[in-house]
């Protein structure tokens, strides 16, 4: 049965033209993206600063999850290492955008080309994302050879290495100390546009030849190989695209959250974003959009419950408990996530 699916996926490569593939099953993703844009515009126009910050955090998580989906969803290989790419994106954009005078105080030992770097936002974002992709190209060489539990442990090992290096390379990262001084902006529009771009890139990858081939390997690796698909090469391509997207999330984190240290890109963000992906449904891009939005809305409602915005105040700390319990409940009741496998 799975072999047949892989065959069908592979056959579509030849039967459908480039344009037909790109349009594919656009309506659902398009509708969700449009909904997201409407929500963001409403928040930008009428929301309080508080709500804007929440929306921005949601968008950053969404871009991260869309990036995770691009690799995990298409390949079926779990990664615990993507927070490492996010960290690279965040640190790279900090080094590129902190004003030169501030930088000479915070990071006096920078090499000259970084010390004198002053990038505008968009070039900084693209450079930071490219840095994450370059790192993915290096780590990808061993990682794409692995699957299952080995891949999970190897990607986690990568994350642990990133942690150690960031915490100790003080000339570049301030080590364990907080990185600050990045020009902040509380603006929903820029991250919203980045989110739309990220969804667009993820969609284009999903509909590309490489995306189809990679999903064929996810459904049945052996059949896919027998059709001449190179599993390693397709995974590698997906990893680069995915690291690039996660790098953008890192850039936005640096620019919109402003201060961070290596711990911000470790297990907690890894768990929360993976949970968002799985809750949404890890095999579909629609799930990668629905998951972060649903979880963020829930967390925000709980937060407001805790600080007494509603009639009844719920005790502090219940937010995390509810989040953990809910993740568990979704996993038990709907192991394929809210969007299921239908749209994969």
């Amino acid at each position: 049965m799975q072999g047949a699916e892989a065959g069908v996926a592979a056959a579509r490569l030849d039967l459908r033209g480039e344009a037909g593939r790109l349009l594919g099953r656009a309506p659902l993703v398009l509708a969700l993206t449009a909904g997201l844009v409407v929500i963001c515009l409403l928040v930008q126009a009428y929301g309080s600063d508080d709500l804007k910050t929440t929306t921005i955090t949601m968008l950053i998580n969404l871009i991260m999850v869309v990036g995770l989906y691009t690799f995990i969803g298409n390949s079926g290989v779990l990664s615990f290492g993507h927070a490492g790419f996010m960290a690279i994106g965040a640190y790279a954009s900090a080094l590129l955008t902190i004003p030169i005078v501030t930088k000479s105080v915070l990071l006096p030992d920078l090499p000259p080309f970084l010390a004198d770097a002053a990038f505008a936002p968009v070039p900084a974002a693209l450079t930071a994302a490219a840095a994450a992709a370059v790192l993915a190209a290096v780590i990808g060489i061993p990682i794409v050879r692995l699957a299952g539990i080995q891949a999970a442990i190897a990607t986690f090992s990568f994350l642990a290495i990133v942690q150690v290096v960031l915490s100790n390379w003080t000339e570049l990262t301030r080590g364990q100390m907080t990185m600050t001084g990045i020009p902040l902006s509380i603006d929903v529009i820029a991250p919203m546009l980045w989110a739309v771009v990220a969804i667009g890139i993820a969609y284009a990858y999903k509909q590309s030849r490489s995306g189809f081939r990679l999903r064929a390997t996810r459904e049945d690796e052996l059949s896919a190989r027998s059709l001449g698909i190179s599993v390693g090469r397709e995974r590698f391509v997906a990893l680069l695209v995915s690291a690039f997207l996660v790098g953008i999330a890192g850039y936005l984190y640096a620019r919109l959250v402003g201060s961070f240290s290596p711990q911000n890109f470790y297990l907690e963000i890894t768990f929360i974003t993976l949970a968002m992906l799985i809750i949404g449904g890890r095999n579909s891009l629609a799930g990668a959009i629905v998951g972060p939005v649903a979880v963020s809305v829930l967390l925000e409602l709980l937060r407001r419950g805790e600080d007494g915005s509603f009639i009844a105040t719920i005790p502090n700390g219940s937010r995390d408990i509810v989040f953990g319990a809910l993740t568990l409940a979704v996993l038990v009741l709907r192991p394929d996530g809210l969007m299921g496998r239908r749209f994969g």
């Binding site: 995990i72 539990i149 080995q150 442990i153 986690f156 150690v164 993740t327 996993l331 038990v332």
Partner: protein, 295 residues
């Protein structure tokens, strides 16, 4: 020479503790192909039980901690892993992650996130001197306890009927069911054992650190995973060997890395782990078929 002997003792003791951590994870993985992050939660919760009961005599405390470990492990099995038994490997892995997160949030809500000092028994911090080498008593207890538990587990797996069923489950779970093996019971027993291992590991670990906080289980469980994978998935002996090797490797790197690089020690450890996974994905003792079937 004395310094070398000192490192050897440290390495063996750390290796023994890591082996104990890895055994719990390796057992559950072997029996039901589950990567159980919640093992860290068992360790952390056992640490809190230790914190609350430490004033009592040790002969009361240790059984209490062990019972707590078993109960917690069985509860997680019942509420999360049993319903998810047929689910995809990564779904179950994330579920165990969620359990760990849930346990941590509950502890933070009740006890706060500040570390709690555990006034551990004074014996644990003493040391004896043999031929100029200072050997902490805790190291000896750790080595002894790990050896006993490993031997006990080995005897259980090879000499008892439930142990036999457990090895059969590790080999081919469906076949065990078809042949009338009591799958639920086998899995529950495996979780109970992993709870015992977590509890003893917690006593040894927190005797060393003397503090417990809500995230105290995270690093141990990560070490345990890495060790299990190094040792070979599905091989229980492999998990113990992997843990031991990882402890020795960590100590060896600590001893040999030049001063400027020693803070990067863990980066080297994890780099070696990645290399090992690529060149020997089945681990030190695992077989290749098992590695490919996993998850």
């Amino acid at each position: 020479m004395t310094e070398v002997a000192q490192y050897v003792v440290n390495g063996i003791s750390l290796g023994a503790l890591y082996a104990l951590l890895a055994l719990g994870v390796g057992l559950i993985f072997g029996v039901m192909n589950l990567v159980n992050f919640a093992q860290g939660a068992y360790i952390m919760l056992a640490g809190y039980v230790l914190f609350f009961t430490i004033e009592a005599p040790w002969a009361v405390v240790i059984p209490l901690v062990v019972v707590a470990g078993v109960v917690i492990a069985l509860v997680t099995e019942r509420i999360a892993f049993r319903p998810l038994r047929g689910a995809d490997g990564s779904t179950r892995m994330v579920a165990s992650f969620a359990l760990a997160f849930l346990a941590q949030s509950i502890v933070v809500a009740i006890e706060g996130s500040a570390p709690k000092a555990i006034p551990i028994w004074s014996l644990m911090s003493e040391s004896i001197v043999v031929l100029d080498v200072r050997i902490p008593v805790l190291d000896l207890i750790t080595i002894g306890a790990s050896t006993c538990l490993l031997t006990g587990l080995w005897l259980f797996l090879t000499r008892t009927r439930t142990g036999l069923a457990m090895r059969a489950a590790a080999e081919d779970f469906e076949m065990l069911r078809l042949l009338g093996g009591r799958a639920d019971r086998v899995i529950a027993v495996a979780f109970a054992i992993s709870g015992v291992l977590a509890a003893i590991a917690a006593v040894l670990l927190f005797s060393k650190t003397a503090v417990v906080d809500p995230t105290a289980g995270t690093n141990p469980v990560l070490i345990a995973f890495v060790a299990t994978v190094i040792g070979g998935l599905g091989s229980i002996l492999g998990a113990a060997l992997g843990g031991f090797s990882l402890g020795v490797l960590t100590t060896a790197l600590q001893a040999t890395l030049p001063a400027g690089l020693s803070s990067y020690r863990d980066a080297f450890v994890f780099g070696i782990v990645i290399a090992l996974l690529v060149f020997r994905p089945q681990g030190l003792l695992g077989d290749r078929a098992e590695a490919q079937r996993a998850v």
